[in-house]
């Protein structure tokens, strides 16, 4: 498992760049019957960021912002339309099927719906065995050992009680633990967690998030944590990327984003996030009206401008803003910060 030597080695690796996403575009062609102009759903439209070893980043955005497509491209399930995804200095687009196989065993995927993520006709032992078999672990004893280890790590003990159970016999929290165990079983370098707790009960959420954090620390995992619930990010991430309509509109450390949000959309998200406070019932939240734009025909210029309270005509609707860096390590895609 995690030995002293491994921890020392991990610390040395700590700030190595693990994942490098450069100007990634993922467009899906819209099929139309017959001929005629089919458009593109521009789910990811120019995304650039870097993830270091052992780092947790949160990608925050509402539904329809393209975060699912971004995540699936990182997982290798979609092919980029343009741009690069580089993992451990290997460009994914240059990998052959063997290479992609290698990549898949280094990435773990934790899904949103714990019940849907588990095949209903397999028991826990078989579910956890599958990635091992696919990953080439031929020895049956070795597989059992790793399965047991994984289950202990996610606190599904006593292990023997759970091995033969089917998903419908487990609670939501237990199912999600199995999903996490499955993601961890090949000892990946990083995890992609897509809203891992949004379908769980409030009190179970904290448990699972703590578990993820514990695993991240002990294995020096990088985690890409996708969510729309800002209140959990401060426990579980170092950096936050805010996504809107296919772009990353703000990139910063957690504290920077929460204490000093720069992009109007980020500010809206923070305003919209509730804390348990009885005074909330007396005030109306000031949030922008309208809804996220269509990814087929996004607005010209800055995509948030139709809803933005700080809209500057002639500037925001004309040209897409580049990344500005008003304070170190804090990027924001907004003309307000153009010096």
């Amino acid at each position: 498992m995690v030995t002293e030597a491994k921890i020392m080695e991990n610390k040395r690796d700590a700030r190595k760049v693990l994942l490098d996403i450069n100007d990634l575009h993922v467009w899906f062609e819209l099929r139309r019957f017959g001929f005629g102009r089919a458009g593109y759903v521009k789910a990811v439209d120019g995304v650039t960021f870097v993830v270091h070893s052992g780092e947790t980043i949160a990608v925050v955005g509402e539904s329809g912002c393209g975060k699912s497509s971004l995540m699936k491209t990182i997982l290798g399930l979609y092919k980029p339309t343009s741009g690069k995804v580089v993992f451990d200095d290997k460009d994914l687009s240059e990998l052959d099927s063997k290479g992609m196989h290698w990549y898949h065993s280094h990435v773990g995927y934790v899904q949103q719906d714990p019940y849907g993520a588990l095949p209903p006709f397999m028991n826990v032992q078989k579910i956890l065995g599958e990635p091992l078999i696919v990953g080439g672990v031929k020895n049956k004893e070795e597989r059992m050992q790793r399965i047991r280890k994984s289950m202990e790590e996610v606190k599904l003990s006593p292990v023997d009680d759970f091995l033969l159970k089917y998903p419908h016999m487990l609670s939501g929290g237990q199912q999600q633990r199995v999903v996490i165990a499955r993601a961890m079983i090949m000892e990946p370098r990083f995890l992609v967690a897509d809203e891992p707790v949004s379908m769980l009960d409030a009190s179970v959420r904290v448990e699972i998030l703590k578990l993820l954090r514990g695993l991240q620390e002990s294995h020096n995992l990088s985690v890409i944590y996708i969510t729309h619930d800002l209140s959990t990010v401060s426990y579980f991430s170092e950096r936050i990327f805010v996504m809107y309509a296919g772009n990353l509109v703000e990139k910063a450390n957690v504290r920077q984003v929460i204490d000093n949000p720069l992009h109007p959309y980020t500010m809206a998200l923070l305003t919209g996030t509730s804390e348990p406070d009885a005074r909330n019932a007396e005030t109306f939240k000031q949030i922008p009206p309208g809804e996220p734009p269509s990814l087929v025909n996004p607005p010209t210029g800055c995509r948030f401008h139709p809803r933005c309270p700080k809209f500057m005509p002639g500037i925001c609707d004309v040209k897409e803003p580049p990344d500005f860096e008003p304070e170190p390590g804090h990027m924001v895609k907004c003309w307000l910060y153009d010096k």
């Binding site: 997982l75 290798g76 399930l77 992609m100 196989h101 990549y103 898949h104 065993s105 990435v107 773990g108 995927y109 899904q111 949103q112 719906d113 849907g116 993520a117 588990l118 095949p119 209903p120 006709f121 599958e130 990635p131 696919v134 990953g135 999903v179 499955r182 090949m186």
Partner: protein, 445 residues
Amino acid sequence: MNNLKHSFREILRYPSAVLGLSIIFLLVVIAIYTVIKIPYNTAINLWRGGEEVWYQNPKFAPPAWINFFLSKKLPVSFVVDTANHTMTKTVTPGAQGTGTVDISYAFDFTFDDYPQEMFLYFTTKFIQKQPFVSIMWLTPDGRKIRIDDLGVSEQLTFPFSQDKRLLQRLNGANPMQALFEDPKTNAIVKGKYQLQIIGTTFEPGSDIDAQFVFQGQVFGLAGTDYARRDLVLPLLWGTPVALAFGLIASLGTLVLTMIIAAVGTWYGGWVDELIQRITEINLVLPFLSILVMVGTFYSRSIWVILGVTVLLSIFTGSIKSYRAIFLQVKESMYIEAARAYGASDFRIIFQYLIPRMIPLLIPGLVSSVPSFVFLEASLAVLGLGDPVLPTWGKIINDADANGALYKGYYYWILEPAALLMITGFGFAMLGFALDRVFNPRLRDM
């Protein structure tokens, strides 16, 4: 495994399932028993055998138990033999190496109709001098009719109704009638009849054995056909053939359809399109006609027919409905997860898609067995059955060729038809129950 046990218990809650399972179980037992008791080669030989095999049976005879329902009782066939001591034989040695062999058989004749034929088959042992027999017939009303006196060679067949001297003695009357009638009233005399054979041997060690064959109007459990063959043979042997054909065709079709549907759905694109087009063309083609063509021009062997049946049955409407289900399952989250940890397409199809489908397909599997059983029978009726095997369809085919319905030999058609129906019924009942047990899972999806 637990799933299976649980499902099994569920199934048993339905009376239709219990009934269906019992019928199928019975059929399977019969099939196994038949194949063991009457192995393939024996069965074929018997079925193809001619008079030498079936000589003891009457022709076109309904089953013996039909007398239960008739007011006019028909005579039941029987065979007795001195060799197995069903007919009494007494040997009395005489002077100078001669001997008297007394053979007699007494039987009750309480029927309202005449037998078809009576035979005596003599087997004798001698060196130079043939033995001599004198055949007498004793009626219940005390008349003693002299049948014939003749010398007997090593193997002699004595047909009662063809013996010239008997015919003369009876003034040309049909012996089968005359021997059982009162000469004055021409009414059948019922009672104890006795056949007496007084044989004389002229050498020491010489012997006479006789077999008395009484060909009544009814025979055995299932009756006989035009070739005097006991219908029990093809009825029994038809069971394993029907079951095997039905199950193999059904299972083979299902497995192949499922695999092809899964592959097409998973890969999409031109593979999927190709499969759909093939299916659509195949739906238009006339199934039975093609089988008839294959049977007529190529081969009627049951394996060839089975193969072509399965091939033509794969690309049918089932592919479309399986495809619909696969398309849904393909979008499941756990399939996505499998792709994320690098499972190959092959693995996903066989370990994830197909296992999901199997519970849904089992009712269909069971319910389609009857149609394949009927198909095999239909082909046989059309004259395209396997030329060698005794099957239910073959019985109907023979019956039809001999005008059974015109001549009133209903049993000949009803017996195989009944078995076909029972088989169909059994599988259908089980299929209905299975459908009700496995269907809820469809809603879960």
